[in-house]
Amino acid sequence: MSWLTNWTWPTRLRDKGIIGMNRRNIRYIGRYNSRRLYPLVDDKLKTKLLAQQYGITTPELIGTVTTQFGVKRIGEMLEGHNGFVIKPAKGSGGKGILVIEKVEDDAFIKPSGVRQSIKDVERHVSNILSGLYSLGGSPDVAVIETLINFDESLLAYTYEGVPDIRVIVFKGYPVMAMMRLSTAASDGKANLHQGAVGVGLNIATGAALRGVQFDRPCFSHPDTGHDLASLVVPQWDTLLHLAAGCYEMTGLGYLGTDMVLDRDHGPMLLELNARPGLAIQMTNGEGLRRRLDLIEHQPDGVSVEERVAFAQHHFARQSELVEIPDSAMESA
């Protein structure tokens, strides 16, 4: 029975400490995330303003458009900005995000090279306002922020899109992290189920642990061919501190933080997620269960620095990428 080989036993998953959807929903989201706090993370504008209050770096806000009347003034607002991103405040899954890499005499150029006129940009903003990209089609607000100049050290690991770093923060402790690298298969998007490469990161150092594409191990970026073993996220400590600080900021106990690395400003908070997915377990090759159990026994009221230090001490791991010789991997 060959199809049985695609299945495993519940006991083996439990031994690995894998958390299933039901357990995540009841034990963690249901218990630690209060429903009334959700709007803080579901609305990107709210998250952004809150982050500014708490001194958490986010991409700089150029402005917001809240009324169809305001759409006409977008040209003035964008003047002097060479690259920017327009996104719906309540969008989900990266929908409705327009990235303009540079502006050349009245033409707005997307990363793919497509030129857009100011009319195209206005129509996009108008669509955002009428709720085309928001959950349930409710009227929305367009948020315009500066373009992230992502760190060149990571350029070799991505295809077209910006690689982002997801850190799961439980009760303020960073428990697990991964980096999502867009590929040609994922069409420049950092969505794992569309074919982006997920790289598990060592909480202690920010170095790559193992790579996964389409749930299968992978050792180099499929498009750039760059070896994943050498991937180390720079300014890792700052990034962890920022992520951990989101706990105080939102009050959500089980939180997914999406970070990016800017060339000039370092790690930045991109958005928060109150229902982070479970794929991070696949990219780390390890279940969340043991780490979450350990954190549940820690007392409340510990400072951000102590929490990060605790996590770096307890969740340190050896990379699976460096142990295996390169040549063996290429053939595999």
């Binding site: 695609n6 998953l13 299933g20 959807m21 039901n22 357990r23 899954g93 090759g285 279940g287």
Partner: protein
């Protein structure tokens, strides 16, 4: 956080559910299984009228033993009215009387009819031929011409009756028939012509029995006495087809009015019916006398409400199937309880017709919705447009099916249209955002859930249990609460997380 109260509630629900079910089983001898049973129809007639503030007399014709059906028990509910059952050679009647009544009045009569294929109608004597009043000129010549033509084309009473019916109703309808129809209703015209030709015939009223139907009216039929077999033969007054449909219950056969009200206006009678199975022994023995608190059962409700509850009580079964598939298996569906509603529609349409109808509607809807997305409409307007589209699709399919003679196609109207519209909307968004693969996964998941829910809800044993044992609802509630507390893996997660466990073997 203590889970004790939770388990107490679940335990209480389980014990209460099992206890009431066992009590009903023991006290009322309702079997756990629907086996070796006789089908019983419960039919309820509701008489509505406005009394004119004076004495009132209501006469309602009652059904008798007849071929295929046997009267088991009958009950009436009529506060303040005197009641008498009358019987003569023309049939049975219930007579309600009251000295003083005003305003809107409701009288109930309910009867249990046992389906027994070997039941025979009582001895049938040919009635005396009633002499119909003579026609006036020019109707008399038209009538005799009609009779002569039909007589010439027929061999006996039965074929004569059929030819007459076709001459009056069918596309052979001629000038003579049209002239006579200005004087009489079609079926009474046929009877009058038959009598005029010396054939014993009468109009009777019957009820088409269909499970769970409410607010039905009687339909008219024509009976002709066949002298060769000494039996009444029954004819459809429209098509002339001979023979009694199995589900036709003759309500009134004496040629009298079904309902007569003296001292009231706006009187009408409507019928609700329900079928259920009773053990052969209990079907004969009647046990609906006691009405204590513990006899808490929907069987004490009027039939019309019972018919509603028969379906309503199945919904928790469908919900359980959905919870099971989503929590334990991890099937993705589009819209949480949409599959249950689709399954309810399947019960009306039967599975195959339902599946074909559903796929056709959703497929055509998706194509049209795809065009709508170019128009860039606001959500509410777009979904409303999809609703109208769905209604249009259903109408077209129904008409097409009718034209092609597929009567099964007519049942697509049972689909919940608003739900279908939302399904199409969701699938369409999913298609744009995640691609057709996700649409197939979620659409297939929904359909699989709907089919499983249908199989569970349409199971005779499940129907028997949910309808007869209300305690089962408490057990279902307890099961769903328990499932809502399940933190283990879903079946499909065993596949999703499989690669993680692989690595151990490698290293």
């Amino acid at each position: 956080m203590s889970r004790l109260p939770f388990y107490l509630i679940v335990g209480f629900l389980l014990i209460a559910g099992i206890a009431t079910s066992v009590h009903r089983h023991l006290q009322f001898e309702i079997p756990w299984f629907p086996g070796e049973q006789r089908q019983v129809w419960e039919i309820e007639a509701v008489i509505n009228f406005n009394a004119q503030n004076g004495p009132v007399q209501v006469d309602l014709a009652l059904p008798s033993h007849q071929a295929g059906y046997r009267v088991l028990t009958e009950n009436t509910a009529s506060s303040g009215y005197g009641l008498a059952y009358l019987a003569d050679e023309l049939g049975r009647q219930a007579q309600w009387t009251i000295r003083q009544a005003a305003g809107s009045q409701q009288l109930y009569y309910s009867v249990q009819m046992l389906v027994s294929p070997d039941a025979r109608s009582p001895v049938q004597t040919p009635p005396e031929l009633s002499s119909p009043p003579p026609w006036e000129s020019p109707y008399d010549t038209a009538a005799s011409q009609l009779i002569d033509r039909a007589w010439a084309r027929s061999a006996n009473n039965a074929t004569f009756a059929r030819e007459l019916i076709l001459d009056v109703n069918g596309n052979r309808q001629g000038e003579n028939a049209r002239l006579l129809l200005t004087q009489e209703q079609p079926s009474s015209l046929v009877v009058r012509l038959l009598n005029q030709a010396g054939v014993q015939a009468r109009e009777v009223s019957g009820l088409m029995l269909e499970d769970g139907r409410r607010r039905q009216a009687l339909s008219g039929w024509i009976q002709v006495f066949d002298t060769s077999t000494e039996r009444w033969a029954i004819f459809n007054p429209i098509t002339g087809e001979q023979g009694k449909p199995d589900n036709l219950l003759l309500w009134e056969t004496g040629g009298r009015a079904v309902l007569e009200v003296q001292g009231g206006t706006n009187s009408r009678v409507s019928f609700s019916m329900l079928t259920h199975h009773q053990p052969a022994s209990a079907a004969v023995r009647n046990h609906y006398s006691e009405d204590t608190l513990l006899n808490f059962s929907i069987h004490s409700l009027p039939l019309e409400e019972q018919a509603l509850f028969q379906t309503i009580l199945l919904i928790p079964i469908g919900a359980l199937v959905v919870v099971f598939l989503r929590v334990l298996v991890g099937v993705k569906t589009s819209g949480t309880f949409m599959p249950v509603l689709i399954a309810l529609a399947f019960i009306q349409t039967t599975l195959l017709t339902g599946l074909i109808g559903f796929l056709l509607i959703v497929a055509v809807g998706l194509i049209i919705r795809n065009y709508l997305s170019y128009l860039n409409l606001l959500l509410v307007a777009r979904v409303s447009a999809v609703i109208i589209t769905v209604i249009a699709i259903i109408s077209i399919f129904t008409v097409l099916a009718y034209r092609m003679g597929l009567s099964a196609g007519l049942t697509v109207t049972f689909f919940p249209m608003i739900i279908l519209a939302w399904t199409i909307e969701r699938m369409s968004i999913l298609w744009e955002e995640e691609g057709p693969k996700q649409v197939l996964i979620q659409g297939g998941g929904s359909l699989l859930t709907a089919v499983l829910a249908y199989l569970a809800m349409n199971n005779p044993w499940v129907r028997h249990i949910t309808f007869n044992f209300l305690g089962v609802q408490l057990i279902l509630m307890a099961l769903i609460l328990l499932l809502g507390n399940y933190t283990g893996y879903r079946l499909l997660e065993l596949r999703r997380f499989k690669p993680i466990t692989d690595d151990e073997k490698v290293s």
